[in-house]
């Protein structure tokens, strides 16, 4: 059963990932990105990280991607702007960065398969209970720091939005 789920999710993730970068229509690309996020959430589910999977769908696919889609639809770019970029620098940089990323991933894969360094996670490590427990014990200070950072960012966003309305 798990193999079937893995194959289906992989196909979905690959196809939607390719659609994101290859499709001419930005709305389709954004929708594919959302589908990709859901497929990755499926992977998390297979790896017993249910909480992460559900939060990924709720936060990224359910809220953030909708806002991005919102912006794309409002702009509704004309056809000329939809042609893919042909900059040489971009292409070169893309190849180099992609190669570097592939190297890092390959290295992680080799390390993971020979068993050195990465201990296997327990079956319950990704449940809501254990994630909550970890957030409020081991990672308490990091958690609080991030929440402070988010509040600062939110206040900043509100301030910026206000200033443009009332000069």
């Amino acid at each position: 059963m798990e193999l079937v789920a893995f194959v289906v999710l992989t196909a979905l993730a690959l196809v939607s990932g390719l659609m994101v970068i290859l499709h001419r229509n930005q709305v389709v690309a954004a929708l594919s990105l959302a589908a990709n996020l859901v497929a990755i959430a499926g992977y998390y589910m297979l790896l017993n990280a249910q909480f992460l999977a559900l939060l990924q769908v709720i936060v990224y696919a359910g809220a953030i991607m909708v806002l991005i889609l919102f912006v794309i639809m409002l702009l509704n770019l004309p056809e000329e702007a939809r042609k893919p970029g042909t900059g040489r620098v971009q292409a070169g940089l893309a190849i180099v960065l992609a190669a570097a990323f592939a190297l890092i991933l390959g290295w992680a894969l080799i390390r993971a398969t020979d068993g050195g360094g990465y201990p296997a996670a327990s079956d319950t490590f990704g449940t809501v209970d254990s994630v909550g427990q970890m957030l409020f014990t081991n990672f308490f200070y990091a958690f609080e720091a991030i929440s402070l950072l988010l509040v600062v960012a939110m206040i900043g966003a509100v301030l910026l939005a206000k200033r443009s309305v009332e000069p």
């Binding site: 229509n25 809220a63 889609l69």
Partner: protein
């Protein structure tokens, strides 16, 4: 060795649940029209069958036979996909809801819930969150200004009210300290004052959840995405025949799911509310009936409110969501925290 019997059981269960949901939808279309007629001193559909009960069949045939009109400019792949997405996401959300106890059939124990998972409450929220895409996609792909405005309105509205919805159930999660719907329902067993809405001190959370649920399902008084006096039909203006019907069904399935979620979290799910000296099949049937009755109550509420209240203005909608419901939901969490800390509940 694959356990084929359990796979067959799962498939049968899926068929039963989806069948019940769609059956509920067709009954609701009749109930909605009859009740609205009663509320407005009209007669409502009363020609097809006794009390017009066969009206949904006639409607279904009509939807199938109607000519399908597709706008020439529509972006086909998404235009075709959108109604399906609407229906799928709302059916998905129902899968974590326990609609009955664990029953025994032919010597096998069967949980009357499709997906009994840790974090099921979040799963339902995630599925509802994905429902936004259907509306947005329908609005955009139709290439119609009314549709687009409807889609954009709805995405803003659903994202805003998702916050209030999510925060309003945190009180329940604090009281029950689990995200597994089946366990939440089991904890509310016994007398009805054990239900979370009373025993858990979640009356405020319950009211907030129901209001946010109305907004999340785009029902009046929050039906701005399809406000017919401003937007013709909103996001489904350009849809006809069966595709329109799928949006229609999706709305009703979403209502049923929201009602079932409210029942599960606040009103004790399939618990009858009175401890009865019964066991086995009589008890199980009564419990399933209790669940259906509670969901039916919410469906009645949906219809009642729709035909009683006028529609909000858009700024009022946003003010209510962000400046009233959101702080109240935070206050509810704070209050529940105090109650839990002092072991009152």
């Amino acid at each position: 060795m694959i356990d084929w019997t359990s796979i067959v059981i799962v498939f049968v269960e899926i068929l039963v649940v989806v069948g019940a949901l769609l059956g509920g939808v067709s009954i609701m279309t009749w109930v909605e029209r009859r009740l609205s007629a009663v509320i407005q001193f009209r007669r409502g559909p009363n020609r097809v069958g006794p009390f017009g009960l066969f009206q949904p069949i006639a409607d279904g045939v009509k939807f199938l036979m109607k000519e399908e009109i597709v706008p020439a400019d529509a972006y086909m792949p998404i235009y075709v996909l959108a109604p399906g997405m609407a229906l799928t996401t709302s059916v998905f959300a129902f899968s974590v809801i326990p609609y009955g106890p664990t029953i025994e059939l032919f010597g096998r124990k069967i949980d009357l819930v499709l997906l009994d998972m840790n974090g099921g409450v979040l799963f339902a929220l995630a599925a509802t969150a994905l429902g936004v895409y259907a509306v947005v996609c329908a609005g955009w792909s139709s290439r119609n200004k009314y549709s687009l405005i409807g889609g954009l309105r709805s995405s803003a509205q659903m994202i805003s009210y998702e916050l209030a919805l999510g925060l309003s159930i945190i009180g329940v999660l604090m009281v029950s300290s689990t995200l597994r719907p089946t366990v939440i329902v089991e904890q509310q067993a016994g007398w009805f004052w054990n239900w979370n809405v009373f025993g858990g001190g979640q009356l405020l959370g319950f009211i907030l959840f129901v209001i946010a649920g109305f907004a999340e399902t785009n029902r009046l008084p929050f039906d701005l995405p399809e406000a017919e006096s401003e937007l013709v039909g909103g996001y489904h203006t350009e849809y006809s025949s069966m595709k329109f019907s799928m949006f229609f069904m999706a709305e009703y399935v979403a209502m049923i799911t929201m009602a079932a979620l409210a029942t599960t979290l606040f009103l004790g799910g399939y618990q009858i509310g009175i401890p009865l000296p019964l066991e086995g099949w009589p008890l199980w049937i009564l419990q399933i009936m209790a669940f259906v009755t509670k969901v039916g109550f919410f469906m009645f509420l949906f219809v009642w409110v729709r035909w009683t209240l006028p529609r909000f203005r858009y700024d009022q909608l946003m003010n209510l969501g962000w400046k009233r419901l959101f702080p109240l939901a935070l206050f509810n969490i704070f209050l529940t925290g105090i109650l839990v800390a002092f072991e009152v509940i």
